[in-house]
Amino acid sequence: MKLHRIKALFLRHLYPLRRDFDLLSDMLYWPLIDTLLWGITSQWLAETSGEANVALSILMALLMWNIIWRAQSEISRNLIDEIWNNNLVNLFSTPLMVREWLVSVMALSVIKMTFTLTIITTVIVGMWQANLLFFGWWLLPFIAAMVTTGWWIGFISAGIILRFGPKMQTVVWTLPGALLPFSAVFFPLERFPETLQIVSRMVPTTYIFETMRALAAGGAINWQALLFSFGFNFLYLALAIWYFVRSMRYSVKLGLGRFN
């Protein structure tokens, strides 16, 4: 693993930010629109229901979902960007190793996510005076769990694209969307039909959102839930990386040139 090669990939994906509105809108525009929309909606819900913690729960859910979205998007979108630019052969005919690519896109996702998070947190706190620090240090494991979820979704999407080609590029946007309802992001798990709850319990983010809602309602930390979340997350991340590497090998068997 060479640091200069990871730096090269950082340059590759940070340079376009200077002039690409597509990328900036992903990082800034849509998260801000979401924040405004859900911020006002949650405020209205809190006022009409009389439950102040509804607003906090919804705003935190929004913040956390943005972390997943950004983390996954950096991985699968960076791969699709190389395909759109006919650059896959260029890149993988250099000394760059697959594991260096993996590390660099994971690190890039954290950098870009931090940027997005800083902006929307400022807006949330500034406009609705939401006390996001209410969760204290628990925010750190919550964020770590969300980032890990984003990574494994990203690696699965990227693996699918490598295996089946750009015709499957829609998974970059649809796969995280499919997980959204099962994660109990905006409503409690018990509101779900029982059979679907089984699926939800296999999704690591469900435990985090449930814990956050419990904390916001004045409850205590559920250690078992956190353990389940991290257990599932690490298992899925390992499987997703395995699938990505396998898809890369499959793709090299057919030739990366087929993406040109």
């Binding site: 090269a8 340079y15 630019n85 260029n90 993988f92 250099t94 190793m97 090299v252 057919l254 040139g257």
Partner: protein, 313 residues
């Protein structure tokens, strides 16, 4: 004796069938060759011969079904990253990210090979000045013409002091003067740094000019490896051009009677004939009282060899 930096042995690539029940496709069938230190080896063949497949395998972006590739005495499959530190490529058909400027793109590639700082700046200025694209360095790639892009790709390939460069039709989209500059550059790099180069091109005059040796691929197999002139000389048929004032039709009739391919260009009869049979043919023409005012005999070129090999089934 110095060991060749690239040794390919029994390389084979079989692609799986595209549809269930279909047949697998053998793109490369048991080829072996060496690229010697400081050599420029031409890789020729008609479309579908397997040139791109070979280059892809040499770059590690396509895995071989069988056989081995050795770079600098080491198995490429086991030391891909280490080998590719010294092996680069440029192709007319591969692009670079269009949202990055020329300079940014080259910076990314320089950093990948750990060519950074002043070394990078000096080397890039030298290359971009040489290729006449220095003024384009702050333009994004989508603003460049095909010819300018090709020159940037060449700068990318020679940036990290490579020991081996694979060039896939490096002059395909260039004007003759720029193509000449590229050939000059390639020869200069070989002379100054002893770079070994694998060179594909559809311009046979260029291959004859640049390459020390030529390897001819056909249907995934090597059918010949030799120097360009020897390959050209192996073509027995020459083109004899007879300028005829009167009696063009008689000449055509006579050539056809001798089973010789003949075509007409204005007042010229162009006859394809074995060099050794020319004297006999001209004597017979004289016997038949068929006269011509001028005669020219075109020696076979590498292009004739290419055409002959491509047409043979």
């Amino acid at each position: 004796m110095k060991k060749s930096p690239l040794i390919v042995q029994h390389l084979t690539k079989v692609f799986p069938p595209e549809k269930k029940g279909g047949d697998p496709f053998t793109a490369i069938n048991d080829i072996s060759f060496e690229l010697k230190a400081g050599q420029i080896l031409g890789l020729l063949g008609p479309n579908g011969a397997g040139k791109s497949t070979t280059i892809s395998m040499l770059l590690g972006v396509l895995s071989p079904t069988k056989g081995s590739i050795q770079y600098f005495g080491q198995d490429f499959a086991k030391n891909k990253s280490g080998a590719l530190q010294h092996v680069t490529f440029a192709s007319t058909y591969i692009k670079m990210p269009w949202r990055l400027t020329v300079w940014e793109n080259l910076k990314v590639y320089g950093t990948l090979y750990d060519v950074q700082g002043k070394v990078f700046d000096q080397r890039m200025e030298r290359f971009l000045q040489f290729f006449g694209v220095w003024d384009q360095r702050h333009k994004t790639m989508n603003m460049l013409s095909a010819g300018q892009t090709t020159r940037i790709m060449l700068a990318k390939a020679f940036l990290p002091y490579p020991k081996i460069v694979l060039l896939d039709e490096p002059t395909a989209s260039l004007d003759p003067d720029i193509a000449h500059q590229v050939r000059k550059f390639v020869k200069m790099q070989r002379q100054e740094y002893g770079v070994s180069i694998l060179y594909t091109s559809h311009n046979m005059a260029e291959v004859t000019d640049v390459c020390d040796e030529v390897m001819f691929l056909k249907k995934g197999q090597i059918v010949a490896i030799d120097d360009p002139l020897s390959l050209a000389r192996s073509v027995k048929t020459t083109r004899m051009r007879l300028l005829v004032k009167d009696g063009l039709k008689r000449i055509v009739k006579f050539a056809k009677a001798q089973n010789l391919p003949v075509s007409i260009d204005d007042r010229e009869a162009i006859i394809k004939i074995d060099e050794q049979k020319i004297a006999q043919f001209l004597a017979k023409l004289a016997e038949e009282n068929i006269s011509y005012s001028q005669i020219a005999i075109d020696k076979p070129t590498l292009e004739d060899y290419f055409l002959q090999m491509s047409q043979e089934s």
